[in-house]
């Protein structure tokens, strides 16, 4: 609060006081008090007035800075009303009570929203787990069908699985502290699991998988990393070129980090669409032309990668291919995740 703001707030009061003082001085002069005495009196009044105003200004400033420091320190700003010290004057107390009750209504609304989000997440998770039983049963049963129908059927089943997985990870990304365990994992294991999970799709789209040196240990949550990689492989085969599509997976150490590169020779992404590929629901011209694109895969990749502190970069040349680089963090990391684990709010 500046002095100007402080004074302009009190302008009316000060004017009234000035008028009263002037009237009193005029009255004293009329009743025969000597002008020297009046001057002395006025100077004395002015001194008292100035001192009280200055001290009040300082109090105001101090209080404001205390309160804003309190607000700064709060993780959830909407809890301010609950933490602020109550004021002293009755008028301020009434104002404070009003503000607090409005704040309480909001806290209620926020926690209701959080609870319903949590419930929704739990429902999605249990739904996903329920649906996996019939998928398993269907997978086991289709084994006995004739080879041609079996292949078609299992391709459809693996598509269903891919959609279900995305829904599950979408729900999980909301509260990662519940499912995420950062541990040592072998990069070649992650790659072979991801390839294995999408084997049906990759074989059917005749993708050639080439692997370079993958003999590295990374610190991450294996399941999540497999999911992210799986999305990239699905994209590589969905947006493949017609002639001998291939995808190359190779890793290089980069200081104490490990960089995994997934590059395909597919149809690529137009340069002007590249900055938006990680946006939620963005399908781009390729997605629109081919159909079946949800705009969720890369969005989820970025979201999960951020939680795992994996740096995700994409580059692409139209008709040449797309390269995605995942930089896994060095050993000492995931402080944010650890913090979120111990202190979810």
């Amino acid at each position: 609060m500046t002095i100007y703001e402080f004074l302009s707030d009190r302008l009316g009061k000060i004017m009234v006081q000035l008028c009263c003082t002037a009237a009193a001085a005029f009255f004293l002069r009329m009743t025969g008090t000597s002008s020297g005495v009046i001057t002395l009196l006025l100077l004395f009044l002015l001194l008292i007035f100035t001192v009280t105003q200055i001290s009040e200004y300082h109090k105001c400033r101090q209080r404001l800075s205390e309160l804003s420091a309190l607000l700064q320190g709060l993780d959830q700003k909407y809890l301010f009303g609950e933490c602020a010290p109550p004021p002293h004057t009755v008028y301020e107390q009434k104002l404070f009570a009003l503000m607090r009750s409005s704040g309480r209504a909001m806290i209620g609304a926020v926690s209701d929203a959080q609870a319903s989000m949590q419930e929704y997440r739990e429902y999605i998770e249990s739904w996903v787990h329920e649906i996996k039983t019939p998928i398993t049963a269907a997978k086991l049963t289709c084994r006995r069908m004739d080879p041609d129908s079996r292949r078609k059927f299992s391709a459809e089943l693996s598509q269903i699985e891919a959609h279900v997985e995305r829904a599950l990870y979408y729900a999980r990304a909301e509260s990662p502290e519940q499912d995420c365990i950062i541990r040592q994992a072998s990069l070649s294991d992650i790659v072979s699991q991801a390839v294995g999970n999408h084997r049906t799709l990759l074989i059917q789209s005749q993708m050639k998988i080439e692997t370079g040196n993958l003999d590295f240990t990374v610190y991450t949550d294996k399941k999540w990393a497999v999911f992210i990689l799986g999305q990239l492989l699905q994209n590589a085969s969905r947006y493949r070129s017609n002639a001998s599509p291939s995808v190359l997976l190779t890793a290089t150490p980069c200081g104490r980090q490990v960089q995994l590169t997934v590059s395909d020779n597919g149809i690529g992404i137009p340069a002007h669409e590249l900055p938006r590929v990680f946006d939620r629901g963005f399908t781009g011209s390729n997605g629109r032309l081919r159909g079946g694109s949800t705009g969720m895969g890369l969005y989820l990749c970025r979201k999960l990668a951020a939680l795992l502190e994996i740096d995700l970069q994409i580059s692409s040349m139209e008709q040449q291919g797309t390269t995605v680089t995942l930089t896994f963090p060095a050993k000492q990391l995931s402080e944010t995740l650890q913090n979120r684990k111990t202190n979810p709010y």
């Binding site: 787990h129 398993t136 072979s192 074989i203």
Partner: protein, 221 residues
């Protein structure tokens, strides 16, 4: 013959799984009554338990811990809960392996085999023999009448799969699938090349028309 107990509440999965495992040469006991598991396990003494964690009205993990406490037999946990936390919990409660639904059949079979091998059951046959043709899996050699040839990793896997299904028609897609499971990501052309090389080696051994091509269907040993 090894005995596998299936603890699974979904009737269709139970049925299909029993059929699958019986075809693979295991004896299968499936449980339909989910009370007094300990007694039932003691009665039929299986070599391995396939345990579904999502049993009705029971905590699967507690059951797993209970089995682990009373028996030394290996347990493979089969569940649809697939997060790292769940897996960690399952393995620390006494599971020997943790497979998530929906599983791939070959992966499931491989895991069962691996767990049985670890638990000291019968070790997997190292040598496959069909019509006098001997394939030694650990050495990677194939021999006939005292003469032998060395095989590459791809050729070994292809021949092993054909020999394991001797007489049956194995489709090219199935062969590719098998190779991919072993992290050999080959395509159609590479498979043809590998089969041709394999045929040449078998011809050198004196078995020229060992692998027949069944047009439009696949290969047959």
């Amino acid at each position: 013959m090894q005995k596998i107990m299936i603890i699974e509440d979904d009737p269709l999965i139970r049925e299909e799984l029993s059929l699958l495992l019986e075809n693979e040469g295991y004896r299968v006991v499936s449980i339909t009554d989910f009370t007094d598991m300990t007694g039932q396990i003691r009665d039929c003494a299986p070599d391995l338990v396939l345990l579904d964690l999502g049993l009705p009205g029971r905590d699967g993990l507690a059951l797993c811990a209970q089995i682990r406490k009373n028996f030394t037999l290996p347990i493979i946990i089969v569940t649809s809960r697939d997060s790292s936390t769940d897996e960690f919990r399952g393995l620390s409660m006494g599971g020997d392996d943790y497979i998530t639904k929906p599983y791939d059949v070959p992966v499931l079979l491989a895991r069962i085999k691996a767990v049985l091998r670890r638990s000291g059951g019968v070790s997997e046959a190292d040598v496959l023999t069909v019509n006098g043709l001997r394939l030694c899996l650990t050495k990677g050699t194939v021999s006939l009448n005292g003469r032998s040839e060395e095989l590459t990793r791809n050729e070994l896997k292809i021949l092993a799969h054909l020999m394991a299904h001797a007489g049956e028609i194995v489709s090219r897609a199935d062969l590719i699938d098998v190779l991919w499971e072993n992290q050999i990501y080959i395509d159609d052309n590479t498979l043809s090349v590998n089969v041709t090389r394999l045929r040449t080696k078998l011809k050198d051994l004196g078995m020229p028309d060992c692998i027949r091509t069944r047009r439009g269907m696949g290969y047959q040993l």
